[in-house]
């Protein structure tokens, strides 16, 4: 039976939202294409009950089996120098048709080196299509097709997994996976961790970044830099879970570059056309620009943010209906 490997990203002890969506997508492909979904956990030394807790989460999110490797080498951030050997070992052993990474940056670090190392095709910012092909002379077959937009925005690349005699490494877009797709199960297969390829490379310090949630967003609202803190806080409270508020500071835009949201709303003055700093567009992404006229809505953007905040609250009230 074919295999799909899903890399599990855990931040501050929690499986990230893009990872849950990744497992849901892997489950969708696995169910229709008849493939086993393996979740791959790479962590520093941790108590076994903690591993079981995470294993329950990932199996409920859609994994058939959970593979885990724990080592001091894997305790730091996911870098190819420390984690790459393990990924290559798993790919060599399982020969998966798909090796998937979630949105949020981990794929940028690990995906392309893995693809080069194992001679795989590579699709960054991918969407997965399942297409049924009917034929008069053969039973209907299911095609698994990964698509992405080129950075030049002049066309798409399509990779048909069945046409290649080699695996496909892909980074998926973000999305929401709201309901469990499997049974929580704590069975974990422990893997030995190979020695890192570059042991002299080591982390000397790390600190959490305050804007890191932006990397994991499935939707985003971009607002002007001059918005006040109170207007931003008000709007943030009205946004649905998984939606990031992004102001054009270097730090936030740095985080935004690895986000792969499916919806982006841009609140900006009417004359502002600078969209150079959008993250890479993913298949199916909906981008909406709401212009406001500074002359009509006072000279600061807080009125525009207040209008969006009010619209969100009214829309939510309509959806919830009368009490």
């Amino acid at each position: 039976m074919a295999s799909i490997v899903a890399y599990i990203e855990v931040r501050e002890g929690i499986v990230t939202a893009p990872t849950r969506f990744l497992l849901a997508e892997a489950r969708r492909v696995g169910d229709l294409a008849g493939a086993t979904v393996y979740a791959l956990l790479a962590m520093g030394p941790v108590e076994h009950n903690r591993i079981e807790q995470i294993a329950e989460q990932v199996s409920a999110a859609g994994a058939d089996r959970v593979l885990c490797s724990t080592s001091e080498h894997l305790a730091g951030p996911p870098l190819d120098a420390t984690h790459g050997a393990l990924l290559a070992q798993v790919a060599e052993h399982l020969r998966p048709v798909l090796f998937l990474f979630p949105a949020g940056g981990v794929g940028v670090e690990l995906g392309s080196p893995l693809a080069v190392r194992i001679g795989a095709a590579y699709v960054a910012n991918a969407g997965i299509e399942l297409r049924s092909e009917r034929s008069d002379v053969a039973p209907a077959s299911l095609r698994v097709i990964l698509t992405r937009w080129r950075a030049a925005q002049d066309g798409r690349r399509k990779v048909d997994v069945g046409d290649l005699e080699r695996p496909v490494v892909a980074i998926l877009a973000s999305g929401t996976a709201s309901r469990p797709l499997g049974e929580p199960c704590a069975d974990v297969e422990m893997l030995s961790c190979p020695e890192p390829k570059y042991p002299e490379l080591h982390v000397v310090a790390s600190e959490a970044l305050p804007d890191s949630a932006i990397e994991l967003c499935s939707a985003a609202v971009r607002v002007p830099a001059t918005a006040s803190a109170s207007a931003l806080a008000d709007l943030q409270s009205a946004l649905p879970m998984g939606t990031a508020l992004v102001t054009p500071t270097d730090a936030q835009l740095g985080a935004f570059q690895v986000a792969r949201p499916r919806e982006v709303v841009w609140v900006s003055p009417a004359q502002d056309d600078n969209d150079d700093l959008w993250p890479p567009r993913v298949p199916g992404c909906v981008a909406t620009k709401v212009d406001f006229d500074p002359g009509a809505m006072s000279s600061d953007p807080d009125h525009a943010l207040a209008a969006l905040t009010a619209a969100l609250r009214q829309a939510r009230s309509r959806a919830e209906g009368p009490a």
Binding site: R150, G155, V159, S206, W266, L277, A287, Q314
Partner: protein
Amino acid sequence: MRVAALCVGGGAECESIGQARRCGSVERVFHLDDSSLNKADFFTLGMVLAEAAQHLCAGLVITGESSDEEGQGLVPAALAHHLRAPLVSRVQGIRALESPPNCVEVSLRASGRLCRLQSPLPLIASVPPLGLPAGTAGETELRPIETLTLEQLGIDPSRLVFRPELLGIFVPGKPVPVQGGTFDEAADILLRRNH
């Protein structure tokens, strides 16, 4: 450390070479252009860059994270693979260390954290579009372009193998453009995906 700029392909008049020639911190500018590389895939390009880096005795290779065309970020990985050197991405800063010798300290974003790590050379560091700050060395007189050839690198162009299938089939088209909308429409879009 001495700084050299290397460009493979693109023509000697390309903007990248022009910027490198004017940059005060760049001492030498190298260009390798060969018609056999016109259809080079990322793996071949990475191999050629690795050979060029070895030819130039480069210990630290800094690259852009991804191209403006495909945008996948495969060339730095292929370069690192052929050079047998570690690759670090999303680099925010680099500094040479006095001790230990031949080592650098790199700051990068990874998994929601800002990390500082030390690495001996050789090392490949890829920088995102908003990465390292612009150089402060100022502009200078135009550096001359020094030409490299595949022959100098010991590469036989007739033996280069291109594998376009690794990128997939190209289907021309444009993404749905940014749509104008009202605040109510934007709110519905943001809330719809949760229903």
